[in-house]
Symmetry: C2
Subunit: 338 residues, 2 copies
DNA sequence: AATTAGCACTCAAACCAAAAGAGTGCTAAC
DNA sequence: GTTAGCACTCTTTTGGTTTGAGTGCTAATT
């Protein structure tokens, strides 16, 4: 357990480093946090904190910079949260209560405001696989294809087609539609994935169109897989505002990381309550960056996560406050719509 | 008009500069292009080319680098085109003849291969506004909304919904659908934009549902507007492979340029035949970069453009050859599908 | 026992001067 | 018209010196 003074010093180092991106000296700490101590005393404490693994000295005549461990304890215990100004809060509220037609639009707006206000790339994950199927429609498009539409309790999936077999009548299409509805209505989108096509059953009813049915089911599976989760990233270029990415080699590394959609999804997809901070090597993907996230409602019955990603030396006070605030506003906005 | 020797020298400077990114000296030119001249002779020529505006000398004791004008004449007259190896051609063919279900998939594949093979960000513009409407469908989703589907001769637009008025019967939906088809079938998607809603006509037929009809037409307009052109950009991070973007300030500038979708669209959207090269300040947007593009077929009756964007000092020989080849393969692939 | 003043020490960063090297332009000869 | 030769310019490299920030340690102080 750290003494009060050690905490104060550690906090001052992290705060200072976040602000200046340079090693922090004993003298600076004295001035900013402990004017009643001498710099020598602080030096002793710094030395202790270093051997405890919280601080790093780039070279002997430099100040100290925080280790990953220091950022961790800073975020968890030391920092005092920032309160967003009323203007800022109002701005966010205004932006997020704007009338939107689709969830996608909402996602876009959330990502935009998050990125603008934190000056970091914003991540928004939409989870879709728990919707319950209300009905399935097969729409003959008169061009030999049918549009497969899945209506769920909160949205409409409509990106799949099936080729119709020759000599297919609209009556048969209707039968197929009925059959699909009988089986799938009430199930979850994600249930498609585990569904095994019952050849014998259909063989009896539709004979030759067995293959066609199988194809529809496969289409539905594919559709549900591609729509089970969707990650939007907005404002990648914001990282150029931060000194750690002055060297474009570093910028490339960062952008490559953000591009690893599946891995980022995994990081965002955890059901921990409240705002979570993942730092640097705590997760192999993050090497050199941190991620701040929170679970949110993106629409009626549509849940997801929002977050930002950026350098380990990000302004956690502010970023955590923003992510927290936006997620709360979002939940409020969504729930007041009912 | 340039003498043969001047051409040879200018070509050597551009070739050398493209390869090494450093100023090219008289000696190098002698070795690479004119072993029968002395470096002094070449120096005289270089001096002449400089005063003609083709070359720039960064400082007195440096070699020459090409001006924008030099790149222009190089691309138009001097360079000898590269021939893609058979392996490479086969690779592209294989990649582009792979079975795809939608135009979007095709666009993705084209962009991917283009970017990978040129080591530059790839641009693919899909033009959609000339499709001819085959039919319009209104599909009752049982949740108070109807899905508006526009079927054209080559694709299906299906991203729009309308809220159904209360007490709306499926019979009325059918009537509405018939009415829409009567008016719009045979027209082009782009025609929606100029269509004025004929209040009186509908008033007679459907009385109270006037507003609803207007809403459908507005929806159709919006749909056709958002789908009239679509730009995909793939492989932005490829620019980090090029020395001009070692400084991340430059990289940011470039990425900001690429982000200006509308302006990039304008550059891609011109109906010049064959492969076109736009260099640097020839277009205000391009400041510091060049763009190589070609018009292509992306599907039956779907035209568009493909291109890459990168530093002025890009390998035009190769890039032009690649863009050319891919556009030809694409046209071949699409036409052989019929 | 904790704190602090004082000082020696280290090391990065800034500075400067000299040397090396690349490449030119010009002149005079071919 | 071409070229050898040379003086000149300017960048780049090198290496050494200085400066200054900041520490760790010791010894004195509270």
């Amino acid at each position: 357990m750290l003494s009060e003074r050690k905490k104060k010093i550690l906090c001052a180092v992290v705060d200072g480093y976040i602000e200046s991106a340079t090693p922090i000296s004993s003298k600076e700490i004295m001035q900013s946090a402990l004017p009643n101590c001498s710099s020598a005393t602080i030096r002793n404490e710094l030395s202790a904190l270093e051997s405890m693994g919280y601080l790093i000295q780039p070279h002997v005549s430099a100040g100290r910079i925080p280790s990953q461990r220091a950022f961790r304890i800073y975020v968890d215990e030391l920092m005092n949260y920032e309160r967003l100004s009323d203007e800022e809060t109002n701005l966010i509220v205004k932006y997020l209560t704007h009338q939107v037609d689709t969830v996608e639009e909402m996602v876009e707006r959330v990502a935009k405001v998050l990125s603008e206000i934190t000056h970091l790339p914003a991540l928004v994950l939409k989870e879709d696989n728990l919707d319950i199927i209300t009905s399935i429609k097969l729409l003959d498009l008169d061009n030999g294809k049918a549009l497969v539409v899945i209506v769920t309790d909160c949205r409409v999936l409509k990106d799949s087609f099936v080729d119709l077999p020759e000599h297919f009548t609209s009556g048969m299409l209707k039968s197929a539609q009925d059959w699909l509805n009988k089986i799938f209505v009430g199930k979850r989108i994600s249930d498609f994935l585990n569904y095994n096509f019952p050849f014998e059953l259909v063989n009896d009813q539709f004979g030759d169109f067995n293959k066609f049915f199988k194809r529809i089911v496969d289409t539905l599976k594919r559709e549900s897989l591609t729509h089970s989760m969707q990650l939007s990233t907005v404002g990648e270029n914001k990282i150029f505002e931060h000194v750690e990415y002055k060297d474009s080699e570093k910028a490339k590394q960062f952008l490559d990381t953000v591009e690893q959609k599946e891995l980022i999804c995994e990081l965002l997809y955890c059901d921990q309550d409240g705002t979570t901070v993942k730092i640097d090597k705590e997760d192999a993907v993050l090497e050199g960056c941190s991620l701040v996230k929170s679970n949110v409602q993106l629409g009626e019955n549509i849940s997801g996560s929002i977050g930002v990603i950026g350098p380990v030396r990000m302004n956690y006070k502010r970023v955590v406050a923003v992510v927290d605030k936006i997620s709360k506003i979002l939940n409020y906005v969504i729930n007041s719509k009912r």
